[in-house]
């Protein structure tokens, strides 16, 4: 235990730093591959296009416009962060919540409908979305806990069920001449998330709301719950080894359901965080599950599966996604922005692999270091406190051994 050989772990070898490094390498690789793809399609504009993606709001030269567009990116970062927290939370308990995408849609649906059809205030819309999202997530949990249905299968199915139910429900509150839902600002101003003066910080961008600080607070809260509470201890134990959790008397079936309910609530809250700003309108002819929940998976991994890390990774992914809009459409077709951000996000999923590779490289390097060190200094006897040299019997046998 008090081994003199034990090297103090330097900051650079700490798990956190290694995660960060792995994430950065993945981002760079993603940018590089995106750049190569652009080179193939049209070499002349590749550098400019990838630059535009990275610059995002900095493509504008006026400070006010920059701030306003930074605000727009943040507005969409909040729901992404919530989705990635949903994925992360379930992942810590050993569950892969691919259903976050559908739970996000359900959150959007409930908040929009509660706002427009019932005229509820914003906080009630938000709470209802969280509640229904939680129930929606719990369905996956019940199926998993009691019928042993894989959460990925039921999650994917419920994504589609959620999407089409949403389209159906929201048809009742859409504009008569278009497939979009009504503007909350015009028809249900009481349900728009307040901005508490945040708009002023972003050059009057009225979409910037309390959703952004709330999402960050929730991320920190998730971190605290997982690391510091009895609840988190139980959930992680269940995730790591559900047999041991059962043996220790934890209600492992209940834990699965509770976890997925929380995951559902987080993702649904994300849906409400976006649509209650009125920044986007739901299109009732949507025929694909929105990518927000899926991007949440990438954000969770890019953030090193750390709730605080996901704050930054979510921003980055949204930054790239929004930045895609600035690619020169004269040189590239309009889908290219999505393609480039998709490539980068795809590479973000490789963080775990990258971390493992770095670990292996480190280990072989450390082995060489130790060998080199050892040539100079012979370490003191290990575990001296415990070991009492044995008496005669030992030296006798040692002689026998050498013979």
């Amino acid at each position: 235990m008090s081994d003199p050989m034990k090297k103090k772990e330097s900051f650079f070898q700490s798990d956190g730093f290694q995660s960060l490094l792995a994430s950065l390498i993945c981002i760079l690789l993603g940018l590089l591959i995106g750049f190569i793809v652009l080179l193939f399609i049209n070499p002349s504009g590749a550098a400019g296009a990838i630059g535009a993606v990275i610059k995002n709001f900095l493509n504008y030269s006026r400070a006010a416009l920059q701030l306003k567009n930074l605000g727009n990116t943040l507005v969409k970062t909040a729901p992404l962060l919530m989705c990635s927290l949903s994925v992360l939370f379930c992942y810590k308990v050993g569950l892969f919540n691919i259903g976050a995408a559908g739970q996000y849609v359900v959150g959007a649906c409930i908040s929009i409908y509660a706002a427009l059809a019932w005229g509820l205030p914003w906080w009630l819309c938000l709470l209802l979305a969280i509640l229904v999202g939680g129930i929606y997530g719990a369905i996956v949990g019940v199926l998993k806990a009691y019928c042993n249905v894989n959460e990925v299968i039921s999650g994917i199915m419920l994504n589609w069920i959620g999407l089409y139910t949403t389209n159906m429900i929201l048809t009742g509150v859409k504009e008569s001449t278009s497939p979009y839902t009504l503007h909350l600002r015009d028809y249900a101003p009481q349900s728009v998330l307040p901005n508490m003066g945040l708009a002023g910080l972003f050059a009057g961008n009225e979409y910037v709301s309390i959703a952004i600080p709330l999402a960050i607070i929730i991320a920190v809260a998730i971190k605290v719950i997982l690391d510091k509470t009895r609840f988190g201890y139980e959930l992680k134990a269940t995730g790591y080894n559900k047999n041991a959790a059962k043996y220790a008397g934890m209600a492992e079936q209940r834990n699965i359901i509770v976890t997925l309910a929380i995951g559902g609530a987080l993702a649904a809250c994300g849906g409400a965080f976006l649509y209650l700003t009125d920044y986007e309108l739901w299109e009732v002819t949507t025929s694909a599950v929105p990518g927000m929940g899926f991007n949440g998976i990438a954000a969770a991994f890019l953030g090193g599966l750390n709730p605080v890390g996901t704050i930054f990774s979510s921003y980055f992914i949204q930054h790239i996604t929004s930045g895609g809009a600035y690619v020169d459409k004269n040189l590239y077709s309009s889908q290219i922005s999505d393609l480039i951000s998709a490539i980068i996000i795809y590479l973000c999923g490789f963080v775990g692999f990258m971390k493992l590779t770095m670990k292996k490289l480190n280990a072989s390097k450390a082995a060489q270091d130790i060998a080199a060190n050892n040539a100079n200094a012979e370490p003191a006897g290990q575990d001296a406190s415990k070991e009492k040299p044995a008496d005669g019997s030992e030296s006798k046998t040692e002689e026998g051994g050498k013979a």
């Binding site: 081994d3 134990a237 080894n241 041991a244 209600a251 415990k386 026998g400």
Partner: protein, 522 residues
């Protein structure tokens, strides 16, 4: 005979030599300048306590780890083993403690896995392989049916399949990693004979074990490791089991459990007509078992593995529901209570499978030590936050009292600890709960004599404090030595109750094999 043979073997050249191997991990020197020389045709035992570095040394030989210092020689030539494929090319094969077999494949399919004989068109061509397997099986007296499906055959037969895998690949150096841990006494005898046959045919065998009597009966020489250091190599003919154990532990070990006669008092556990369903077949695994355990006695459930002991314990601990019957703990009916309630009612349980049930391997040692107590006010505040300082203090206490050794103390990840120390942590955790009834299932499985002695002592202490102990064990020595009363289980029923003082291992064996039974009314 044994002496003659080892004399002949002594003149053989070294098949494999590991010279001055040093391997370090963060916080620990797993192998510190260890040398091991294996002669052609000898059975060389490698002995050491849990965590002495045996597994690490074998992993180095198998190419799983690269040593920082030292070299490996084969037939005197220096070789570099980068990965298990290199080891295989050099003719080194290993029977792991946990078999690496495909359960739903036949014996033959498992043997040829990875080296499948194919025709030019890419079709399997098994006839030839089959003949070779049958020939090998006969030559070494293995008697394995090549067409049997792995999940249908006994653990002993599965092990022979592993041995055939090595032979099929023409391996010359065979490593057996604690091969007897999973076998019945009869199977152990047969394995010993097989090992002797293999050595007689010129194979070199490295036999990792801490069962001294097995080493004494089968090995030619024995190398001993202790705490990562090389202690010495001795000829088995020149030593005794006591001598070996002193070398291994560094002190003299008492093989016999010292205990005063039991003074059992009130009944603490009463089981009536308990039936537990089987997960693997339609019959019940436990068929209406009745017995009791009193305060101040150690009751042992003996039997050959797979006769319902596991399910019996699952039923008692609540891991599986009981189909019918009643369980009473301290006069309270706990038949349908949750696992948590049983635990807080005074039941402790050292599980059979420490990796599956006993530990969350990815949790730190301290988190594992509070696995069943984390919710108590001492470890969780009213608001639901963990009291990490108290958890650390408590973990340090258990680590100290039960001599749990690990690289980084309380924050060591359980997965990185040696099996024996993992077990010590579990035993400490369960005993320190101060239970009225301790159910200990194979508590010394895979442990060295020093650790076994310690655990046996703790069981006896618990008994002397007036607690009830239900010990489930497959080790006959343990059954005879530790218990005050023995119940023998055969095919889901209790077929005999004997007093260890008035019985013999042979009589127990008859009960265990189903050849003898009493009408037991416990």
């Amino acid at each position: 005979m044994a002496a003659e043979k080892s004399a002949a073997v002594q003149n053989e050249p070294y098949a494999i030599e590991m010279l001055h191997i040093t391997k370090r991990f963060p916080g620990i020197i797993a192998n510190d300048d260890i040398s091991l020389q294996l002669r052609k045709g000898e059975i060389h035992a490698l002995l050491g306590e849990n965590g002495a570095g045996k597994s690490t040394l074998m992993s180095v030989l198998f190419g799983l780890y690269q040593p920082e210092e030292g070299e490996i020689r084969k037939n005197g030539q220096k070789v570099v083993i980068r990965d298990p494929n290199d080891a295989n090319d050099l003719g080194i094969g290993m029977v792991h403690q946990h078999f690496k077999l495909v359960e739903c494949f036949s014996v033959l399919d498992n043997i040829i896995l990875g080296v499948e004989p194919t025709t030019k068109g890419g079709f399997l061509h098994k006839a030839e392989a089959r003949e070779k397997v049958i020939a090998l099986s006969e030559k070494y007296g293995l008697h394995v049916d090549p067409d049997a499906i792995i999940e249908d055959i006994t653990v002993g037969m599965q092990q022979r399949t592993e041995i055939l895998k090595m032979l099929y690949r023409d391996n010359e150096i065979l490593i057996f990693d604690e091969p007897t841990a999973v076998l019945t006494p009869q199977e152990i005898e047969e394995l010993m004979q097989i090992m002797k046959n293999l050595a007689a045919e010129g194979k070199s065998i490295l036999f990792i074990s801490h069962k001294l009597n097995e080493i004494m009966s089968v090995a030619d020489r024995c190398s001993v490791l202790r705490k990562g250091k090389y202690i010495g190599t001795v000829n088995i003919a020149d030593t005794t089991a006591e001598g070996l154990s002193a070398m291994m532990v560094g002190r003299n070990v008492n093989f016999h459990v010292e205990k005063s006669p039991a003074h059992p008092t009130d009944v603490v556990l009463e089981v009536k007509d308990m039936v537990v369903a089987s997960k693997t077949h339609a019959n019940n695994a436990v068929k209406g078992v009745s017995f009791n355990v009193r305060k101040g006695e150690i009751v042992c459930i003996a039997g050959i593995d797979g006769n319902g002991q596991t399910e019996l314990v699952y039923g008692l601990s609540g891991l599986e529901p009981v189909k019918s019957g009643t369980i009473t703990l301290n006069g309270k009916d706990i038949t349908h209570l949750s696992i948590r309630k049983r635990s807080t009612s005074g039941m402790s349980h050292i599980p059979e499978d420490r990796h599956k049930h006993g530990l969350v391997l990815d949790y730190s040692l301290e988190n594992n030590i509070v696995l069943e107590r984390y919710f108590e006010p001492e470890f969780t505040s009213k608001a639901g936050f963990l009291r990490k300082d108290n958890i650390r203090k408590y973990a340090e206490k258990i680590i100290e009292e039960y001599d749990v050794r690990s690289g980084q103390g309380p924050i060591t990840i359980a997965r990185s600890m040696s099996g024996g120390n993992q077990q010590k942590a579990i035993v400490g955790r369960e005993i320190d709960k101060n239970p009225d009834l301790l159910i200990a299932v194979q508590p010394t499985r895979g442990l060295d004599v020093g650790a076994i002695e310690g655990i046996h002592k703790q069981l006896v202490n618990l008994r002397d404090e007036g607690k009830g102990v239900l010990l489930v064990s497959l080790e006959l020595d343990e059954v005879m030595d530790v218990s005050d009363r023995i119940l023998v289980m055969y095919e889901g029923e209790i077929v005999g109750e004997v007093d260890p003082k008035n019985t013999t291992v042979e009589e127990l064996g008859l009960y265990m094999a189903g050849a003898k039974r009493d009408e037991v009314k416990a």
